[in-house]
């Protein structure tokens, strides 16, 4: 097994106590357990506190623009399916401005894992309401409480066709490591929603609150899609692997009839003469 320090990069600048530290640790451990080669791994992020994670995790990394990590990752993975592509970001990044890409990456069943660090708040921009904030939640942009029902990210992903759905908690790094490992190992699109407290701006959804408002899935068959829909509608957050199904991945389908062009082979077949007939 690889030593997890292989994945050390910069020292995080997250606030002391931020849930994202737990995610980083779990990700490193999962990577070590899987023996991921940093040179063959790409960590793709959007913008937000959480999206800085690739500054702290040693591998290829691309920190893109807000909400678009899934689209960039799609281009990367399709271009070189041999890469391990992991997406990470915040709840705003994934479930607000990135909604569109989440839905469509899920239905494509692209073989990537997407880790959403869900703190139910906008961290980096200093505490505005997030799509996952509870109704009534008071923030600087919702001084009278939020008027919106929260987006249920995992439910959305499931409804969109994701083949792996799990929820973890930064406070439980052991389980989170397992989940992330499974998600990366899963062949197909895997969404991991992580309850990851923002200790600075969200004084409601704290570690303790999450402990009190979550429960461990027991005796659950992740193959049961109907049950997964139900679990995801629970008032409390279920922790663990909620849904898992093997299906052909997007890359497999796209390249079904054709040999994938290995990336290294940069001299490609550039002939076009055979097409000329169309134009005569």
């Amino acid at each position: 097994m690889v030593n997890i320090s292989l994945y050390d990069r910069e020292t995080p600048t997250w606030c002391p106590g931020c849930g994202d530290y737990g995610v980083l640790t779990a990700l490193k451990r999962a990577a070590a357990n899987l023996g991921l080669d940093p040179a063959k791994t790409v960590l793709v992020t959007g913008i937000g506190c959480s999206s800085k994670i690739n500054s702290y995790f040693y591998s290829y990394g691309i920190h893109t623009i807000h909400g678009r990590a899934a689209a960039v990752a799609t281009g990367i993975k399709l271009s070189n399916p041999e890469l391990e592509v992991i997406i990470a970001g915040g709840d705003g990044d994934a479930y607000a401005i990135g909604t569109e890409h989440l839905v469509h990456i899920a239905r494509r069943n692209l073989d990537v894992a997407y880790i959403v660090m869900n703190n139910q708040i906008y961290g980096l921009t200093k505490g505005q309401v997030s799509p996952t904030s509870e109704e009534g939640f008071v923030t600087i942009t919702t001084p009278y409480g939020s008027y919106e029902k929260p987006v249920n990210g995992p439910l959305l992903a499931l409804a969109s066709g994701a083949t792996f759905i799990a929820r973890g908690f930064s406070g439980d790094i052991v389980q989170l490591t397992q989940i992330i490992e499974e998600a990366i190992r899963h062949r197909g699109f895997a969404l991991v929603d992580v309850l990851s407290p923002c200790v600075t701006w969200n004084k409601i959804n704290t570690y303790d609150w999450y402990k009190a408002n979550s429960y461990q899935l027991k005796d659950h068959d992740p193959g049961d899609r109907n049950r997964a829909f139900q679990i995801l509608q629970d008032d409390k957050f279920a922790l663990g692997i909620i849904y898992k199904k093997e299906e052909k991945t997007f890359e497999e389908k796209v390249y079904r009839k054709y040999v994938h062009l290995p990336l290294k082979q940069l001299e490609v077949d550039r002939s076009i003469e055979t097409i000329y007939e169309e134009f005569r």
Binding site: S55, Y58, I65, T74, S79, V268, I275, E278
Partner: protein, 571 residues
């Protein structure tokens, strides 16, 4: 009257087969060794509504329609109402009188009325075949080579069933038969060499698709939009054969970001769109510029703003291509002027993108994208792929690869995921040489200088203007206006210098040189505000310009340009 230069407009309701007939006719022209230029005019709806297709065939190299047409093949009344004025004196109108007879007023043209649809329905049992019948009438009128025409019809339907081929051939014969008593047109000669030279007949969008394939582009992501969809469609068919991927994204934002991802992963990649989608790509193009990511973007301009006139042409995205997006950004904007250039510019766009590690915007317009022209078979041997400073075997002892290292020319070495010793970060935040985020002021200045320096460095390698003629009167144009400008100038027997600008950003210094002894310059462009004119003024300091502009969504005719120049110059 007219030797080997003829323009046929075929008009009808959508569904009348005007477009299909036009395609066959233009193929025929190519096969007899003619050059071709075409212009489609159809509404932004699927069925019904008047559609027309103008095809010009000429032994002379042409790039656009002429002012007037020689033949009006009218399947409906609208064609008469809308296009009769366009008909050259001495020309011919062929009217399908099946639906209704119509009095056609002009005395100076020949009128041929045939109930094409009725005959097709009664004698061939299939009304829609009337359009191929019309080709028989045309053949008779202009003494076209019926063997070549038969072969062209056969080839045109070869992806369909043998039955369809036969039906069409029969219709053609019927057309010939019904016009056996029709006298051939006098004064018209349509005679090529009857041996098709080694040429291709294709529209700009197809040339762009071919150029991308030839350049080794192996990834296209796009969201459908008129008039750029053809490129996605063409590559959806052909990329997989080449081991590449074509993906219809969920939006233009997704598309540009996918293309950036693909480029980052090492594939030559492209996103194609038109105005509204081009707007949506703004933020992504900025990311590419900041992370110094090669990516090629096609904006096939249509009449804006907003949804505008989706099936009509315009050149009004120049400003957005050159100036769009927040922040100071390096980019390249090139504008091909004809179908041949559309191929070569696209090919080169991929080299430029990788050499300078910037987004390259190809600015086409609806007319170029859809205009079918005859081009010489592309010479692939001359085309070299240059992937720039792509480093696949870095020999670095550092834990992270200095992706944004400072180099003389501002261009750093680049690696791609999968490469050992190439590990680095990329980010749209300001960053240091390893791509790590930093807000340090002096690093910021150095990085800005580095990125902006590329703008100067690249200037030598971009497409200089094409200049034709001499004199102190100049005409300036870009893109599809090339065709009408050339013809207009042929008609004015004076010294005029035509400066065709092909690179819009960075604006090259050659234009100012070409304008040195010029006293007045006419800037021809297809927009209201004079976007090209402003670029010229700003970048050359030359200010005695006269705008010749068109913004009704319809393409220029040489006469408009000719008249305006004569008027202003008193010629």
């Amino acid at each position: 009257m007219k030797m080997n230069d003829i323009t046929v407009r075929i008009g009808g309701q959508a569904g009348d087969g005007s477009l299909a007939t036009g395609e066959i006719l233009s193929k025929y022209f190519r096969r007899i060794g003619f050059y071709v230029a075409t212009d489609k005019d159809f509404p932004s709806r699927i069925r019904g509504g008047h559609t027309s297709y103008a095809i010009r065939g000429s032994k002379k190299r042409i790039f656009s329609l002429d002012d007037r047409i020689d033949v009006l093949l009218a399947f409906d009344e609208d064609s008469i109402l809308l296009h009769m004025d366009e008909l050259e004196s001495g020309g011919v109108v062929i009217f399908d009188s099946s639906r209704k007879d119509l009095e056609i007023k002009r005395e100076d043209v020949r009128k041929v009325k045939i109930p094409l649809a009725n005959i097709a329905r009664k004698e061939l049992g299939l009304e829609i075949i009337k359009n191929t019948m019309a080709l028989g009438v045309l053949s008779k009128l202009f003494s076209l080579d019926s063997n070549i025409m038969r072969q062209t019809i056969r080839d045109s339907y070869k992806t369909k069933s043998e039955k369809i081929i036969e039906e069409n051939l029969l219709a053609y014969e019927k057309g010939l038969e019904y016009s056996k008593d029709i006298e051939p047109m006098e004064g018209y000669v349509i005679e090529g060499d009857k041996v098709a030279p080694d040429t291709l007949l294709l529209m700009g969008n197809e040339a762009i698709g071919l150029g991308a394939l030839a350049a080794g582009c192996r990834f296209i992501a796009a969201y459908p939009i008129t008039p750029a969809s053809d490129v996605l469609e063409f590559l959806s068919r052909h990329l997989p054969e080449k081991g590449g991927v074509a993906i219809q994204a969920e939006s233009e934002i997704a598309a540009v970001n996918m293309a950036i991802g693909a480029g980052y992963a090492g594939l030559r990649s492209m996103a194609v769109t038109s105005g509204p989608g081009f707007d949506l790509k703004t933020e992504g193009i900025g990311l590419a510029s900041m992370i110094e990511q090669p990516v090629v973007i096609l904006d096939a301009q249509r009449a804006g703003p907003s949804t505008g006139l989706p099936t009509k042409t315009e050149q009004s995205d120049i400003n957005h291509a050159v100036y769009g997006g927040h922040g100071d950004k390096a980019r390249i904007v090139i504008a091909p002027g004809n179908v041949e250039e559309a191929f070569y510019f696209t090919f080169e766009a991929f080299n430029l993108a990788e050499r300078f590690q910037v987004p390259v915007i190809i600015l086409s317009d609806e007319l170029i994208s859809w205009n079918k022209q005859v081009v010489k078979r592309f010479d692939l041997d001359k085309l070299k792929v240059d992937r720039g400073k792509l480093e696949l075997n870095p020999v670095s002892n550092e834990r992270e690869f200095p992706r944004y290292d400072f180099q003389e020319d501002g261009i750093s070495f680049r690696t791609i995921p999968g490469v050992e010793k190439g590990i680095h970060l990329e980010t749209g935040d300001e960053h240091d040489v390893y791509g790590h985020i930093t807000e340090n002021a002096s690093n910021r200045v150095k990085m800005m200088d580095k990125r902006m320096k590329k703008i100067q460095v690249m200037k030598n390698e971009l497409f200089p203007s094409v200049v034709q003629g001499e004199g102190d009167v100049a005409v300036i144009g870009m893109g599809s206006t090339m065709g009408p400008i050339l013809e207009a100038l042929e008609r004015i027997p004076r010294e005029i210098k035509f400066i065709r600008i092909r690179t819009l950003f960075p604006f090259l210094d050659d234009v100012a040189l070409h304008l040195k002894d010029v006293k007045i310059a006419f800037v021809v462009e297809q927009n209201y505000l004079g976007q090209l004119e402003d670029l010229v003024k700003l970048n050359t300091g030359f200010r005695n310009t006269v705008g010749i502009r068109k913004y009704d969504g319809r393409s220029f005719r040489p006469g408009i340009i000719e008249r305006r120049i004569r008027e202003v110059m008193g010629w």
